[in-house]
């Protein structure tokens, strides 16, 4: 029996009356936290399992959402161009990289109980606050365009017209965000995220040569050697692993979930599991296309001059192993677009709310929290509308997203590092020396790579 459970409260004390006294968003968070506290009071195996399940969420969501439609296409193209080699072990390296960066947002959220945008704005002033917010909102909106491209392309495999696909996408994402309060929103998003793992069984349809996959970890073989195309693809893969919006999303999500310092360990595990899922899905896509599509198309000097676009990749898979795997791939692409669109929409709403001190919680009912919901919903509607514009320069938009991310990345990482080393803010939860050394190394690599990538997109002959 749970200690204290079943015991009567003291006369006159009513927990429901106490809850009613709290503002609505805090009341709903308090109920979630009461359930967590109840599980913590019990030490049985079953309640411990339930506690682990209750505390997962933002870490897995952010990592799975990072395998978005653009990411899935990038991995598919990478496998098609370079086969089973260098990029498979590289994805394993991305696990600690993504984990070390994202884990800091768990600590920041638990200790400060404030989102990343709010902390930058209030700790470093309106200039940097506005710069970060502006960059984030523009990058999120443009990334949403790529998610809707993924959704419409995936649905086109099932014969759904773009307009209908976009309407289904908008209706689904809005319903999840506007009708579910945080706990249910998080659980629904986790279920959607679960389907991102559709790429894992899909790889077995290809009957890959697992000895070649294992060998890639020993040789890190680069098909065709180090070339301009290799560097370009390398930069694109690293660019898809850590994006600025992820820092903002996870910190705000942890705040809305109610993460406190006691939950930091659970938050770290959640983030690590998420990073492992992200890498596993990426590797499966690389192995699938590396087995079936590698060396079947024309390779140019950049991805834009190769014949490995997603339509070619899917038609090659279809020719080799039939239509069912292609339909599963298309479902995965739709799911990747939807989960990322849910995360990006929430990220925009949280960041705007935090910057302007507006209400900022998915626990708010729509009417009470309309100021919070509207920025995210508007950005989604704009993105959806752009996808439907005939002859819209989608390639140009994709370049703009990457370029904005490359400008924003150093700032986002610098503020993260400053905040997490700020003793006044973090107290005993500041970074340890080895964490700073690791993060600064990662920062130097990521910043150099993302800057080079951003510049290479607008100066194609730079590499």
């Amino acid at each position: 029996m749970i200690p204290g459970q079943g015991q009567s409260s003291e006369e006159g004390f009513d927990i429901n009356k106490k809850l009613e006294e709290l503002p609505v968003e805090i009341r709903l968070r308090a109920i979630d936290r009461l359930k967590v506290a109840r599980l913590r009071h019990n030490r049985s195996l079953w309640t411990r399992i339930l506690l682990v399940i209750a505390l997962i969420g933002p870490g897995i969501l952010v990592m799975v959402a990072d395998n978005d439609a653009g990411g899935v296409i990038t991995y598919a193209q990478t496998g098609s161009i370079f086969g089973l080699g260098f990029f498979i072990p590289l994805m394993i390296l991305m696990v600690p990289t993504a984990y070390l960066v994202q884990e800091m947002t768990v600590r920041l959220a638990a200790v400060t109980r404030r989102g990343h945008a709010e902390m930058i704005w209030k700790r470093y002033g309106p200039f940097w606050g506005a710069f970060s917010l502006g960059d984030l909102v523009i990058a999120n909106s443009l990334t949403l365009v790529t998610e809707f491209i993924g959704i419409t392309f995936g649905m086109s495999i099932f014969g759904v017209k773009p307009l209908i696909a976009v309407i289904i996408g908008i209706a689904f994402i809005s319903t999840v965000m506007l009708t579910l309060r945080y706990h249910k929103w998080e659980r629904a998003s986790l279920i959607i995220a679960f389907f991102n793992m559709i790429f894992i069984p899909l790889v077995f349809f290809a009957h890959p040569d697992w000895s070649l996959v294992a060998k890639s970890f020993l040789t890190w073989h680069i098909s065709g050697g180090i070339s301009t195309l290799f560097i370009y693809v390398l930069l694109a893969n690293i660019g898809t692993t850590i994006a600025p919006w992820m820092l903002f999303f996870q910190q705000s999500s942890e705040v809305d979930k109610g993460t406190v310092p006691e939950d930091i360990g659970a938050g770290k595990r959640d983030t690590f599991v998420g990073a492992c899922i992200m890498a596993t899905v990426a590797i499966c896509i690389l192995v699938l296309t590396g087995t079936l599509v590698f060396s079947t198309g024309h390779v140019g000097t950049t991805t834009s001059t190769t014949s490995y676009n997603i339509a070619f990749i899917l038609s090659t898979i279809s020719k080799k192993i039939g239509t069912i795997p292609v339909e599963l791939f298309a479902l995965g692409l739709i799911d990747a677009g939807i989960i990322a669109a849910i995360a990006l929409t929430a990220s925009t709403s949280w960041a705007v709310g935090e910057a302007f001190n507006w209400p900022k919680s998915i626990n708010l009912p729509f009417l009470e929290g309309r100021k919070f919901y509207i920025p995210g919903i508007i950005s989604m509607l704009i993105a959806a509308a752009i996808v439907l514009v005939p002859n819209v320069p989608l390639g140009f938009l994709n370049i703009t997203v990457q370029v904005i991310a490359s400008i924003f990345m150093p700032a986002a990482l610098l503020f993260l590092l400053l905040l997490v080393n700020d003793k006044e803010v973090m107290g005993k939860h500041v970074n340890k020396k080895w964490e700073n050394v690791s993060i600064i190394t990662i920062m130097i690599v990521l910043v150099s790579m993302s800057s080079l990538y951003g510049l290479s997109l607008v100066f194609p002959h730079l590499l």
Binding site: I2, P3, G4, Q5, G6, Q7, S8, S9, E10, F13, D14, I15, N16, K18, L19, L22, P23, I26, R27, L28, R29, A30, I31, R33, L34, A37, R38, H41, R113, R114, E118, M119, K122, R123, Y124, G125, F131, G258, V260, E262, N357, K360, F396, I399, V403, S406, I407, P410, A411, L414, L418, D422, E424, S451, G454, L455, L457, V458, F459
Partner: protein, 70 residues
């Protein structure tokens, strides 16, 4: 909102337990609590100068690049 069964949360028996719970779980309105501006000095000042230079250089290069593309 469905009412909670108080017996299930018997570890909170009185006002003091409730206050402790709210405090431990940090359940308060943080938007009403001001955040102090950070003092920017030393290597942080240097990092901000570097960041501004980086942003300006990137913006100029990217504008030039986009002009080339268009």
């Amino acid at each position: 909102m469905d009412a909670l069964d108080g017996k299930e949360f018997g570890f909170i028996k009185n006002d003091k337990d409730w206050e402790n719970f709210l405090k431990k779980e940090k359940l308060k309105d943080y938007s009403k609590i001001p955040v102090k501006r950070a003092k920017v000095s030393g290597w942080v000042k240097f990092a901000f100068v570097f960041l501004r230079i980086y942003i300006v250089i990137m913006l100029v290069l990217i504008i030039l690049g986009f002009l080339n593309i268009i």
